[in-house]
Assembly symmetry: C2
Homo-oligomer: 197 residues x 2
C-alpha cells in the first residue's frame, strides 16, 4: 500500500453547494447583507464528498468541510448534543444556506480573544441552543481548504416551514451581537425542497 | 468581476513538501516513530502557493496550510512574537519536517479539553518558547484541506547545525508529554540545505 494515498473520510466531511439550474432545493430568495452578492441562481444542489460536479453548468459552487469544534466546551457540547436533531427530517422542507466571511481582525485574534467575543460577549452558543431542536444545522469551514474560498463558513440549516419565523429570530439575535462586527460578507439563501419541474 | 473567483492568498498559506530526487534540501535521515513509514526519498522540495509540481516524479507530496492560532492566548502570543525569528536565516542550514497525525480521541475532544491537554498538562507552548530563537518554525494544518491527507500537521523547523542537540531536546520534551499519547503517526525528517549535484 502506498502510505501517501488516503481514502476520503467516511462519513464525508467535504460538501459542495452548487447554485444553478439544478438540484433538490429551489431557491426562494437570496439576499447578500454585507459584501458582494452571489450571481443569481434558480436551484441549489448539495453534494457530499468529492463527487461534486464541475461549475461549467452552474452559477457558483461553494465548498466547505465539517471539522472539530473550535469553541464549545464539554458542558456546552453535552447540552447541544442532548437537544439537537439530525438533518434530513421529512418535515424539514425549508432550508437556509448562510455563507459568511470574517475580517482579518477576527483571524489575527488569539483563541481566548475569539472565545470571549463569540460566547462571553455574544452568547453565540447559548443563543443557538435555545433554537434547538426546531432548527437543525451543519457548520462547514472553508478557510483551510486547498484553494482560496470566497467565504470562511457555510452554515446549512433545515426546519419546517412553520418554524421560519423562529429561524428569523435566531438570525436577528446573532446579527445584533458583538461577533457580527467581524463579519465582512454575508449572504442569506432560503430554500425549499421541491422536485424540479 | 465574478464574485466567486478568489485570488490565492498573499503571502501564500498553502505549502507542499515534495520528497523525491529534487529540491533544495537533502534528506539526511527519515525515521517514522509511530505508524506507517513514508517511502524513501533523497531530496525534498518546498513549494509555496498552488505552484507545487505533480507527484509523477516524486515519491510523496505532503500539503499543509498555515492558519489562525488554535490554542495560544494573547499573553503567550506576545511572548512568542517577541522571541521568535523568521525562517530562511542564512545560518539555519539544517531543517526538520515533522508530519504528525492525531487520533480520533483528540479530534472529538472539545476546545477546553484540548487546551487542557496541550498546555495545562503538556506545557507545549511554554516548552516551545524556551527553544526560541534558536529554532524557527512554521506550523501547517492538513486536516481541513479539500482532499484527505495522511497527516494532520506538518511542522517545519530551521536551525543552525550546532543547534541540532537543542532541537533534539525540544522533541524529547514534547514526545514525553501527555499530548503525545494522542499522536498515532509521526515521522521525523532531517534535512540540510545543499545545492543538488
Amino acid at each position: 500500500m502506498n502510505p501517501i494515498v488516503t481514502l476520503p473520510s467516511n462519513p464525508p466531511r467535504l460538501f459542495s453547494f452548487v447554485g444553478g439550474d439544478r438540484g433538490l432545493w429551489r431557491i426562494r430568495s437570496m439576499d447578500c447583507l454585507v459584501g458582494d452578492p452571489l450571481p443569481q441562481a434558480r436551484r441549489l444542489g448539495v453534494f457530499a464528498g468529492e463527487a461534486s460536479p464541475g461549475t461549467s453548468l452552474a452559477s457558483w459552487k461553494l465548498d466547505g468541510i465539517t471539522s472539530n469544534e473550535r469553541y464549545v466546551n464539554r458542558a456546552e457540547k453535552a447540552a447541544l448534543t442532548a437537544k439537537q436533531e439530525d438533518l434530513h427530517r421529512p418535515a424539514a422542507t425549508y432550508a437556509a444556506l448562510i455563507p459568511i466571511r470574517k475580517n482579518s481582525a477576527w483571524w489575527t485574534s488569539t483563541q481566548d480573544e475569539r472565545r470571549d467575543v463569540l460566547e462571553v460577549q455574544s452568547r453565540h452558543i447559548a443563543i443557538g441552543l435555545r433554537y434547538l431542536p426546531a432548527i437543525a444545522r451543519r457548520l462547514h469551514h472553508c478557510r483551510d481548504l486547498t484553494a482560496s474560498q470566497p467565504f470562511d463558513f457555510l452554515t446549512w440549516f433545515e426546519y419546517a416551514p412553520a418554524d421560519e419565523t423562529i429561524f428569523d429570530g435566531l438570525l436577528r439575535e446573532l446579527r445584533a451581537s458583538a461577533e457580527w462586527a467581524y463579519v465582512d460578507r454575508e449572504c442569506d439563501i432560503r430554500l425549499v425542497r421541491e422536485v424540479d419541474g
